[in-house]
Subunit: 656 residues, 2 copies
């Protein structure tokens, strides 16, 4: 590894012979690297879907924005793109991983459009495919995919936002009528924030507690017709319009409540649990808890898509701000040679370059997650462990990507000053739209605790129920050393670590093996200390149980965060290893250093507290960041070209 990135290292190599094509520009090579195994589909979407049509006029009022969004979703369906990720008989390629690949890409365009198609073709049609049986698919899936049947995904309730397991809507079987009765017994059972509900949806996938003969079988999903052909709500269905929001004006979020609405028996999405005509319940999964997680888990694509879209929005904001910084000048240079380019200020480099590094880091991590999803899709038979790992990874990355996106878009708005605040320059709209990504498809704070729980489960691999108290008690059983399982590029990383461990404790910060060890060690220590505290909490008297568990929560957030960092680093390493173009790989290697140094700097309090960094080493890391910013500065244009964002989506007047 060279210690200084020299321009000549990144010059295209001479073609081997006159007949060999010249290597692609650096930006293109980076696009291929960041697209990774999904390059073909992503390139196709760039070419065919991500056109100027998908830039919404941000001054449209709510009615016009909704109309525009519905029209774009219809065009998407008419173009045949809604079936991406569906089986061949429904017009897709049969590769289910393509769905989140595609929906993540749409985050480069208008996010209302992204969310609207996500609701219709991802959540609504996706539920029919994954939760329904053959009959549901044959009866409804084609119409869902053409938008002849606009649908909603009615999970969240007013009283239970993030707490899906405790939904209050009831789906009660009435054997005499051979019908279900769907009901919202309380105001708190009202479905809220439901996309497509306020205007468009004719039908909804409704989640509620399935009750037969007085027995509650837990949360299930059922198709419920909402509106007739004229768009009028059906009897017993009350729909509210949630109106103006902080963003995503094109998405018609609404409330739905049900007053003893009768639904035919067949409409229950019964792949994981159904009722025969006499009211007898049957399910291929015995445990109610396992069944719940299987059902919710089948929707993991939604969470992956949301993370991917948010990350794409963040990259778009960076590209806008980076290009602005490459043309905007402020304050005279001391040399007297005109004003200084924004990007030449170290403070500005510090604002932009670590974000660029993070963009690549999360991009590679997202690709790893998609590959993990692909392996899960290909499983012959269900594997609970594999499935939980996938869900944990998806939740962890959704949290990281959406947090990063919101903060990044804001930082980029500010980096463009007043120009960034003008709506025509796109940033404020991206900011407003991406905001809620931290909340929907699982509130980030709740998801982080889920991730931490799962890490404890893995750590001990000996848990019964997911109940926090039970978990704490189980942790108490025993504790010991556990080696973290590497999530990507295993042999390569092992070699790096082996090399690093041969050195003394003052290993080089720019040595990848040392970096991996730092991340792994921090994660293990945080997790072990969490497990230790959980064991103590389990000893609490019942009346102190809440307080004891409550005190664990900040440690759970830390466990989730440190785990995610490690997974992202492994993905970054794997992504560089898979990069074909030597110049791109060299640049990415430097960028990975910057990402690691920034991550260490941000958490240097922890590393110092735990004697993992000496004060001298810690200060050295900050100096390294400054140096890396300077080294990477000449490649900023290439690096943002490498995001592969179609030019029409970066057409801001401040860049003219």
């Amino acid at each position: 590894m060279s210690s200084i990135l020299r321009p000549e290292d990144l010059r295209p190599e001479e073609p081997a012979s006159p007949t060999t094509a010249a290597p692609p520009p650096l930006g293109e090579a980076l696009v291929e690297a960041l697209d990774g195994p999904f390059h073909a589909l992503r390139a196709r979407l760039r070419r065919e879907v991500l056109t100027a049509d998908l830039v919404r006029d941000p001054t449209l009022d709510i009615a016009a924005a909704r109309e525009w969004t519905t029209r774009q979703a219809q065009r998407f369906a008419d173009g045949g793109y809604a079936s991406i990720g569906y089986p061949r008989q429904y017009g897709g390629s049969g590769d289910a991983t393509e769905l989140p690949v595609a929906y993540g890409m749409l985050g480069y365009a208008d996010l209302s459009f992204d969310v609207k198609v996500g609701v219709q073709f991802g959540l609504f049609a996706g539920s029919i495919l994954t939760l329904g049986g053959q009959w549901h698919r044959e009866t409804y899936l084609r119409d869902a995919l053409t938008m002849r049947l606009p649908g909603a995904f009615a999970m969240t309730e007013s009283g239970h936002g993030s707490d899906v397991q405790h939904l209050a809507t009831t789906i009660t079987y009435l054997p005499d009528a051979e019908e279900f009765e769907v009901d919202s017994p309380t105001v708190a059972a009202t479905k809220v924030y439901i996309g497509n509900a306020a205007c468009d949806a004719r039908m909804a996938v409704v989640f509620g507690r399935l009750i037969t003969g007085g027995t509650d079988h837990g949360v299930h999903a059922i198709l419920v017709p909402l509106r007739d052909a004229t768009g009028t709500p059906l009897p017993g269905v009350t729909i509210g319009d949630q109106g103006h929001k902080g963003g995503l004006l094109g998405v018609d979020n609404g409330t739905i409540s049900f007053d003893h609405v009768r639904v035919r028996r067949r409409l229950l999405l019964d792949r994981f649990g159904g009722v025969d005509t006499y009211g007898a319940y049957h399910s291929p999964i015995r445990s109610q808890n396992a069944r719940f997680f299987t059902m919710v888990g089948a929707l993991v694509r939604g969470r992956i898509s949301v993370g991917g879209s948010a990350a794409a929005a963040g990259r778009r904001a960076i590209a806008l701000a980076a290009r602005y910084a490459l043309r905007r000048r402020q304050f005279p240079a001391p040399s007297g040679e005109g004003d200084v380019l924004l990007l030449d200020y170290l403070t500005h480099q510090r604002r932009l370059l670590p974000r660029i590094a993070e963009a690549y880091a999360y991009g590679f991590a997202h690709n790893q997650l998609l590959q993990q999803l692909h392996r899960w899709d290909d499983l012959e038979s269900p594997d609970v462990r594999v499935e939980r790992e996938l869900e944990t990874r998806a939740a962890a990355l959704k949290v990281a990507q959406t947090r990063w996106a919101v903060d990044t878009v804001q930082a980029m708005r500010e980096a463009c000053g007043g120009a960034g605040y003008l709506t025509e320059n796109l940033l404020t709209q991206i900011r407003q739209d991406v905001d809620v990504f931290t909340t929907f498809e699982g509130d980030n704070t709740v998801l982080q605790q889920l991730v931490a729980k799962e890490l404890l489960v893995d750590y001990r691999d000996a848990w019964g129920d997911l109940d926090l108290l039970g978990m704490a008690r189980a942790t108490a059983r025993s504790l010991g050393e556990a080696v973290l399982e590497r999530t990507a590029a295993q042999p390569l990383i092992s070699r790096m670590v082996a090399r690093a461990q041969l050195r003394d404790e003052d290993g080089l910060p720019l040595e990848r093996g040392w970096q991996v060890v730092m991340f792994e060690d921090r994660e293990r220590h945080v997790l072990e200390s969490l497990a230790h505290r959980a064991r103590e909490a389990a000893r609490a008297r019942p009346e102190d149980a809440f307080a004891a568990l409550n005190a664990l929560a900040p440690h759970m957030l830390a466990a989730s965060r440190t785990h995610t960092d490690r997974v992202v680093l492994e993905a970054f390493i794997a992504g560089i290893d898979d990069t074909q173009d030597g110049r791109a790989a060299l640049l990415l290697d430097r960028l990975c250093d910057l990402w690691v140094m920034s991550t260490l700097e941000a958490d240097r309090g922890w590393f110092l507290e735990h004697h993992r960094l000496t004060p001298t080493r810690s200060k050295e890391i900050s100096a390294r960041i400054d140096a890396l910013c300077g080294e990477l500065r000449p490649y900023v244009a290439d690096l943002v070209d490498g995001f592969g964002i179609p030019e029409v989506l970066l057409d801001a007047p401040m860049l003219h």
Copy 2:
């Protein structure tokens, strides 16, 4: 100081006799404490101005929003409030400090309204008062204060956003015609982001370079008529509408450019520099640089108001989120007794309580700044040192308050989950409106460097020009120990520090003296190390000068930040000391602990790197924060009542 805050400590004392009035509720006592010396005016504004009329319907389109805002500003003027802070002959009380007191309060209401009145009555009318002479005041001030003469404040240019000293607009005196010619010689000289320009303004205070007989006298201001009585732009004046923005839709920001526009000689605002009929320049201030800073400094009220408004917006967001957390329940309690209140989760307390502590911290710091302004207003003769101190403080606090406000409103939006994203619940609109406060009235990154420069100036007290290179050279002259001057509550703080210094180095983190020493020591160390680096930078060869100074920038940001923290702590201590109600003082004392602990935790990397905290002590600080959150949890409702926000401005459906 008690180590645990007991409910009985905060119970109202028994009235001494039946005829003595009962003490006020804790919330009211906190309002009085936070209002401080400005209680009377603030209470009056609450009662008379901050009514439900000042809640803008967030779904208004841009045209309707502008109309609404102009109407509200007119009502404000009609009510006689525009003259707050003006001399008696213009209807005010003669106390100039009242202006920023009032405009900061308006941040509780709609921020478009706040900015609009700030432009008209603060910047436009304020420039006439402070930069003009007797004739300007008599001719224009009354009309400006009644809005018969709507005006703009045209400083920022397209090519020079934050770099006012290098404005390109020219104001050239033509002796034959006895007129000035105002001109925008380049596109970069176009005035941009000018509030009131797009629709309303008939006249503008225009900043440009004053030129007489070929000599450039630097930046001056002149009144330039923009539109005729029908609203049509006058010949040579080109006005653009900057249209839709990321927020503040009610403010009509526009661009203005001048094509050799002729203006009568008398319209030059000539208090600090004028031209006689023959074109001879005269000024009471000899140095062009000093004159520039005097002129810009006269506008310090604008910067103080902006910081105050942003902080008010942050407090309003906290009040909304805190009340939501006191009614919203999620996930069942382990005890089985229903769902847990959001505010009972430690993670949620960690999101809210440090923000509440910061709200009070910045509130007290703002009061101190206003008192400093008041002392400056009362000066018999100008004092450059006092003026620069005021400007430095205003810049430092503007940065801190606006950064805090943007981050806080966002955190509070997220703390309310999906409900926070619904426009009806106010948070997203506050968020969109407050966003640009980090950019206008001085971009935060630029201001922080200004603050650091001034700190170096103070530190050495031996500077010529404000030019960075010159400063660096001057720093190089000598370096030595310097004691930081305390900015508030001097004798009290000295006593606290003296007590703390008697103890060994493991002083108690909850002892105020120890806290002060930690903050002072950090500031001094950062400043000394910056001065040292500046000295080295001054030795750079001319061609390396930019690189050498550029490398200082991150240290300058740190110097600004650590200085601000110390000033805020001193203000917090003074604010508690001035609090009359014993219960309120006790609570504020705890809150100050929480603020200090949070501030130390956030920068614990630095304290550990510099051996100011041991790893053990550092971890202890995090534990203290958790404990303080629990201790303060029962008083959250009182603490947000203490912000003194009129109920009508907190009327969100999520709280019904």
